[in-house]
């Protein structure tokens, strides 16, 4: 297995992604072929949206 240093940009993205995963549960994406880091995907939980829609208050 070979390694190479991350570029500064890659390092920032990875740190942000790891922090997002740890703090907000965001998915960390991986390339299926190379297993390299591809960024993050923010999938909104169903419950969050359904609860918000169901609880929209009456407006006046």
């Amino acid at each position: 297995m070979d390694f190479r240093p991350l570029t500064e940009t890659e390092r920032k993205h990875l740190i942000t992604a790891l922090r997002g995963n740890a703090q907000d549960g965001l998915a960390v994406l991986m390339d299926r072929q190379t297993t390299s880091f591809l960024g993050t995907a923010e999938e909104v939980p169903d419950e969050e949206v359904i609860n918000a829609i169901r609880s929209v208050p009456c407006h006046y």
Binding site: K12, R19, T34, L38, A41, H59
Partner: protein
């Protein structure tokens, strides 16, 4: 680490940030030069969440809001308040509205209030979710019959509790009024103030509210080119409202369901496809006006019309599945 150094191990507190920095530095030290194929450019990482400072509407979202507001005022119920759920993404200090869900014909409304048809909106979101899982609730736009361009105290009492459900515990709120002064060019929209859009005599004023705010804050609104992802549902919104609860129940009971808007006999139809375990076969239901048509899709014989008259779409689907299972 102190392995092999002869020194006793030390246990010092380390923060999560320091741990990450050390892990990355360690990975970097193990490589002398780049090897293998170049790394793919990482996708743009989401900006850290900050208090909302701007709202971005796509052009189609803006057209929807102004167009449906104008059409509503010409309708039989034009004297009532009307409104929309605003769906989209929330990153950094920006909320980007990418879809609008209408209050629906099943709304409860008068000159002084509007309560949306939540069941229809919830099911509409399930359809949108088939295409993207990144839409979240951002807020609500609704109209006032007079010239109050600010959410009312009654709005505040409900909204300040509700925004606790939203990302960042902040929501976006638009207020529509029909009191705008003529703009420099009557054919195009203009912004009398950073948080106000006006087109003709219609006006949309934009605010944000946090769960701890004492009042709404005016927020600058910007336009970008983009879709209203819920626009394609408008031609079948009547069918969607009529069957929302039963369709929503089906979506939660069965996996692999697919909803789509398709060409019907007279107008657009809302179609539901239920894949069967046998390859290539599926139950398909088309909802068009009051008609509910059941089909069996087969890979070789094409679609077969089912002799089934059942207006309750969930009952009809299960009758079809039962009939097919018995064969």
């Amino acid at each position: 680490m102190h392995q092999g150094s002869g020194c006793p191990p030390e246990f010092v507190p380390i923060t999560f940030r320091e741990l990450i920095r050390e892990l990355i530095a360690a990975a970097g030290r193990r490589a002398a030069r780049p090897v293998g194929r170049p790394a793919a450019v990482p996708a743009e990482a989401p900006a850290p969440l900050e208090p909302l400072r701007r709202v971005v509407l796509t052009d189609e979202v803006s057209r929807t809001l102004f167009g449906e507001y104008a059409a509503h005022r010409q309708s039989d119920r034009g004297g009532e308040e009307i409104g929309w759920d605003l769906m989209g993404t929330r990153q950094g200090d920006t909320a980007t509205v990418l879809a609008t869900l209408p209050a629906g014909e099943g709304r409860d409304a008068s000159e002084g209030h509007v309560q949306f048809n939540r069941a229809a909106q919830e099911f509409a979101w399930r359809i949108l979710r088939q295409g993207t899982r990144q839409l979240r609730m951002l807020g609500v736009a609704h109209t006032h019959p007079g010239s109050l361009r600010h959410p009312s105290s009654g709005d505040y009492r409900g909204d300040v509790r509700w925004v606790a459900n939203l990302k960042g515990q902040e929501g976006v709120f638009g207020i529509g009024t029909a009191d705008a002064a003529p703009g420099p060019q009557p054919e195009i929209a203009w912004q009398p103030a950073p948080n106000v859009q006006a087109l003709g005599d219609l006006c949309l004023s934009w605010y944000v509210l946090g769960a701890r705010d004492k009042n709404y804050r005016p927020v600058p609104v910007e336009l970008t080119i983009g879709p209203d992802l819920a626009a394609r549902l408008r031609p079948v919104w009547t069918e969607l409202e009529a069957h929302a609860e039963r369709l929503d129940r089906l979506a939660r009971q069965l996996t692999g369901l697919k909803f789509e808007v398709t060409a019907g006999h007279q107008k657009s139809a809302l179609a539901l496809t239920v894949p069967l375990p046998d390859a290539g076969r599926a139950v398909r239901v088309e909802l068009e006006g009051k008609a509910v048509r059941y089909r069996l899709l087969t890979p070789d014989g094409g679609p077969l019309a089912a002799d089934l008259r059942e207006d309750r779409v969930d009952v009809g689907v299960f009758l079809m599945l039962s009939e097919l299972a018995a064969r």
